[in-house]
Symmetry: C2
Subunit: 481 residues, 2 copies
């Protein structure tokens, strides 16, 4: 019945005139009781709906306020106005939903801050910025599925609730169906008796689907996950969320180099896809970022605009170097010698801080960097041990302005080496019997990586705070909506 | 380095011969020290790798056991053998990973039961049945994204952790970062002090992304979710999981009829996609189901095979009727009169049980059925109230053998009606201030539905138990892997 509307994106894109059409959407502005700028979320561009003087009664005109939802039927004609090629000459206008103009927080007069919009995340979809961000987020998600589907990968849904906590990737949220009011069944020592819980044991929210992904890769060859992951870390930063989405491909018959090649191709594909499919939204966000940058002191401004940065990543190979070479570069840098790092680099073996990663990417190489072969001591148990006896076949991809966007490795497929490392790290083998089984029954060289989806969306949209690229962000003290 | 292999699916599909190729995969069988059936998970079909007598030493030959992982290089030649058009005449064979044949649970001799395979879910990907199921699951997931992307819908990631428990869709799992050993901070009355918890209040795992989806639809017009949802219900059935994936589209400017049209088009599209892209896997599963059916008594067998059933759904419109008409049919049925229902239908207003739904779908109409306009008393608060004062604009799609596969409705966009219903159902309006806001600021007629992804996969694959269509199922007392 309603399904007769034309989307504004299609209407404006076709540039055809001389036909009758129906549009529905939300009023962005209403000038002179004549010109409605109408938006339906399919694009940031509005269609101008023109109302002939006297066509609507006073009461209806008063109801056409910013935020109101209307249906307009009319003829699509060439526009005389600036900034638009066509407009809709209305023959009928119907108010579908009034907007309480007194209380509507998104009036044109005051441009609301991103912080304020976070408090009204249920309404921020109606702004140009968030319309653009969430359309691009969609496009990137679709491109991820398309990339892997075209390559014959199998999309795997790994479990969110898990009894495994061996990965050591960070603090985990606990999940229970028992009452938390003190009435849960207890053991003799006063602790909660999880045998009475839903799963018969303690369970958590997953921090990664990798270990389960490896199980499937040892049969289907190439798989990827794309699902929510969790960290109960008290990080109030612009780069961390308690709930975020990760993509984790896992490939049989891949070594570290294959892994790097795939990750680089993947990131470049995604950015190219956004450039091709979200041209208008990217242009809008580039301008937004440009204005934001102008508020900053000269020394803190980015050297590149958003579009330049994206073009640059698409057109340049990532710099690949070992952790060891990176340490040498950092140690010998003037930055280090002049003690400009908060954590000076003094010796091989230390974990790199965000400031070091940014120095390498933004100052030294001025392009995305892939660091490889990290010290075993600062990496996870499942990474393949190199012959030098001290490094593992890890790789991290560092992006300008974001830092680590991908972390991956070739996996340790040799059972004895894997068991040795687990013992060193005090990981009980009983907890991972199923993971170890894959090394007993036809293991093979394999590799994989994880891409933080929100960090990718940040990179592509230029949004500075990760809380602004996921619809309803979860962070300390915040679980609204 | 490794990335030079040809996938077996491509090799067999191309039917080209006379070139050198590398294949890697897992040994399914090894006959006469000569013929390896090799599988790489890209298809259920194996490539036959032929080893010339004397090419490999005795020790290597002994290592080629079922489950071992090997790399073979050789010439692709026409095959003389039955059931295959081509084979690989090996010039080199390398063992990538041995398989402990003594302990490998997937020997060809005994066909393992589905129940047993559930216990070794980390290895069941290597069987023909689960290879087929998870490739089809992938294809359906991709088709879902493609369907909506092609229509201009925006994919929305709604939160998994939520402080909202107003939906009333069922028992929820609790999420906390506080210790559960009794040491969590307490209020004076002994209950846990959630102000000290990560989010500063009690939180749960979501049962649905719908309410959040509506928020975005009131700006972007058409959105869909595809994410995990949870029920802490102690249901040990073949149709329930504690963790499952749902697709929830939500459309502005849709009424109930538009909603039904979209849902029907959607389901038909997905099945058509699987028929076009998973021909071999579906044929395999159809045969598997056929054999399973033959074990059943004649009266319990399905009237249609898997392929017939899928073709039937693609080619026939769903039967649409109101709840009221369905009740009349059920009340007047011989089945009801002869008291064959466990819960006899005695009056309008009762909720339909699975047995009633199956009677309508499988006995009466013999096709998928869309039931509409249910009594308000048995449906959720957000469904649009019909003018009769007793029904709501709900729709459920019932599929043969599965029961309810889709549940949806037009949403109540009128603030006063919505508030009235919430009061009747004792839902505090403070908890849903953000949801109510959308009715204050330019609401419009809108609708949506939820599709249980695993039920869809069950329907398409013919698998009888929902635990066999998700990689690592979560159900009471089970959180393995």
């Amino acid at each position: 019945m309603f399904n007769t509307r034309t989307r504004i994106r299609e209407m404006l894109g076709a540039e055809r005139t001389g036909y009758e059409a129906t549009v529905m959407g939300w009023v962005r502005s209403f000038r002179n009781n004549q010109f409605i700028a109408l938006n339906d979320g399919s694009t940031n561009n509005n269609i101008q709906v023109v109302i002939a003087l006297g066509m609507l009664d006073e009461i209806t005109l008063k109801r056409i306020t910013t935020g109101a939802c209307i249906k307009a039927i009319g003829e699509v004609i060439p526009s005389m106005g600036k900034g638009q090629k066509l407009e809709l000459k209305a023959t009928s206008v119907e108010i579908l939903g009034d907007c309480d103009a007194e209380n509507f927080p998104l009036q044109l007069k005051n441009r609301p801050s991103l912080e304020y919009l976070r408090e009204i995340a249920h309404l921020r979809f109606r702004t140009n910025t968030f319309g653009a961000v969430f359309r691009i987020r969609h496009a990137l998600a679709f491109a991820i599925h398309k990339f892997f589907n075209d390559k014959g990968f199998v999309y795997l849904h790994t479990p969110v609730i898990t009894a495994s906590d061996a990965e050591g990737a960070g603090e985990m949220f606990k999940v229970t169906a028992l009452p938390l009011d003190g009435s849960a069944p207890k053991n003799e020592d006063g602790s909660i008796n999880f045998r009475e819980d839903f799963f018969g044991r303690p369970t958590n929210l997953t921090v990664s689907g990798q270990l389960e992904g490896e199980l499937a890769a040892m049969a289907l060859s190439d798989i990827y996950t794309f699902g929510p992951t969790f960290r109960a870390e008290n990080s109030n930063t612009t780069r961390h969320l308690a709930e975020f989405w990760m993509i984790e491909p896992e490939m049989a018959f891949y070594d570290l180099e294959d892994n790097m090649n795939l990750a680089e191709e993947f990131i470049r594909y995604l950015i190219r896809y956004a450039l091709d499919n979200n041209t208008e939204d990217l242009a809008f966000l580039a301008q937004r970022l440009d204005e934001e940058e102008k508020q900053k002191p000269l020394t803190e401004r980015s050297e590149m605009g958003l579009m330049e940065k994206l073009d640059f990543v698409v057109n340049n190979n990532f710099e690949r170097l070992t952790y060891t070479d990176a340490i040498t570069i950092l140690m010998e840098s003037n930055h280090n010698k002049k003690k400009k790092f908060q954590y000076p680099i003094e010796a091989w073996g230390v974990d790199l801080q965000s400031e070091h990663e940014r120095y390498l990417v933004e100052k030294h190489f001025k392009k995305p960097v892939i660091l490889t072969n990290y010290p075993a001591a600062i990496k996870a148990f499942y990474m393949r041990q190199n012959d030098d006896g001290k490094t593992v076949a890890a790789m991290d991809i560092l992006a300008p302005g974001i830092g680590e966007i991908v972390g991956g490795s070739q996996r340790e497929e040799r059972l004895d080496k894997l068991l040795g490392r687990m013992e060193e790290m005090h990981i009980p083998r009983e907890d991972l019997w199923w993971y170890l089984d894959t090394r007993r029954f036809g293991a093979c060289p394999h590799a994989g990586f994880g891409l933080g989806f929100e960090r990718l969306v940040q990179f592509v949209t230029g949004m500075g705070n990760i809380r602004d690229v996921i619809p309803f962000p979860r962070y300390p003290k915040s679980a609204d909506f």
